[in-house]
Amino acid sequence: MSKSLILNSITKEGVDILATQQGEPAWSKELRTRAWETYLKKPFPKESDPGWKKTKLSLLDFSRLSAKSFEAQKDKSADPLLTDNLLDHIAKLGGLVFSYQSQDSSFCQVKLSQEASAKGVKLVTIPQASQETPEILKRFETSEPESENDKFILMSRALFNCGGVLSVPDNVEIEDPFVFVTNLAADCVDGALFPRIIVSVGKNSRIKVVNLFTSAGSKESSQIVFSNALTQIQAEDGAYVSYVEVQNYADNVFSLNRQFNNLKRDARIYSLSVGLGGKQLRSDITTEMAHTGASASIMGVALASSGQSVHYNTIQEHVAPHTTSNIDFRIALKNHAVSCYHGNIKISKDAQQSDAVQSSKNLLLGEDAKAEAVPNLEILANDVKCSHGATVGPVDREQIFYLNSRGLDKTTAEELIITGFFNTVLATNPIAGVDAFIQELVAKKVQDQI
């Protein structure tokens, strides 16, 4: 383990030190620097901006946050620091990238199954990626149109410091999931963290990925830790990616997530986001059906309690004809929690015969909980199927009455209903190994144990 470098703030100096510390080649340092320079020119979004109203940016003080540096560690066996018994649930791993950060140490480590390496899969940590998979880093550098305009993506491109790159060749099928874990120790305060996950899947390959963000949290600390994660998934022709993300940060973490899914011809993705933790959870998920026959299922469940704010923004972008997308998000709010779901459907002129479905259901458990659901449609093709629906409301009193009439008290009845509310989405999760893990986390959160 190395001493972590605590920089004064998110600065150019930070970019340089990161690049140097990690021994990156010149091109990588240059990419970071270029991103940084563009970053400086862009304004921060404001809480008054339409897309940012429900994200409490004022919680962040960038002059105080320091970007942590991670050191790569190779060939470390399973880590005792990996909490939350995730690995107890996942019997077999395709591979694991584990990023760990405490106040005075940090590292990234990687483990790849024999099966995966025999099949030509590459899995490396971010500190190693510029040496071991440079072509992938370069290819993903500006693969999204937003990447030159978005303040937070630019920040991430300049400062990304943990996470990993998964590269799967053509025609590979692996059942066991690849797992990324970002874990913060309890003493990790006042830091900024830029996890970067790149998943590149070759033609006709089928893989499963789990991405877990977690932190021990500390009850004493009210200081905010900033996590700005960028996840990029690219599925080549005929590939099928199952992706499950669990955000279970402690309540001193401001968590920003960017996920880009890019689907080539006949490629498919199943993506499930489970949002439980963090003071602020903001997640933007863009799925581009770039070529004919691409199809996406983007699911989400989130449960927030007092003091938490949840904001999901999904973009289903149909660029090519005969593409389908299905979005289903379920958010439940306790006490004073607030949430916002923005669902954008974009169907371009050429994307005829596309089929886009969007559904968002919001369950208000607390009397002061507030949820907002805003659909936004931009449909330029004339021969498409598109449907969207949103509901916001309290628990159905007739359901409560029914359960009460069987002897269940109010609390138990409500817990069953909330769990059921999520279950209809969670039941679609194709990664069996994380099922019990997620159910357990959700149950704990439902019962106010986390």
């Binding site: 359901q399 029914y402 069987r406 008290d409 509310f421 999520f422 209809t424």
Partner: protein, 268 residues
Amino acid sequence: MAAKTKEILRVEDLHVEVDGKSILKGVNLTINAGEVHALMGRNGSGKSTLSYALMGHPKYTVTEGKIFFHGTDITEMTVDERARLGLSLAFQYPVAIPGVSVSNFLRAAVKAKRGKDVPVKEFRAELKKVMGELGVPNEFLSRYINDGFSGGEKKRLEIMQLSMLKPSLAVLDETDSGLDIDALKTVSEGINRLITPESECGILLITHYQRILNYVKPEFVHIFEDGKIIKTGGSDLSLKLEEQGYEWVSGSVQSEAQNAGLDLASKS
């Protein structure tokens, strides 16, 4: 069956309002252990309202009168307290609860009713027996409560739940409607099994049809109209209803009432 004397339910002059509208207008009813009471009456006469009020639905406000269960005044009790005391209701229209599987729910309900966790093995065995008796297929267990089930399947599930909960009063609101001929027989047998010497279960069976009463034989038949019981008789009463409809009851009750000097002229 000989008349039992142990009182299970006593309803005294019950008046109930829903959303400010008065629906029940003075119901009096006593059910003793082991008795089957049939409750019949026109659509909209208030039968379901009575069943909800007995169960304690928060929307149904008791404005006058009292409900006693095993001699205890339960008029102010919460729904789940009543259920744990042994009151139960098979719904006319059971509500769907997506995402909650029948088996998870049943386990929680049995635990609540019995006040302790039942060992999984024991629970399974008991459930298997009940399902076998009622002809409930295994796959129903993993499906969500009342979600996507047919009308008849829902009714079967209601009786399956009651069979597991072993209530001491079962209010069955049109459990027979929607059941095919064979199902009617199996479900009726299930209902009869609720009455055991230990359970001392009383049954209030709301129905429109004689056919279920051929299987579940009532000691008493009550006719409900405009929020109260207007006539009580033996099992012959339901046969007469089947033949002649409600017209004659309303008429005869009206003339009886007029003879008694009561004014019921405002009744439709």
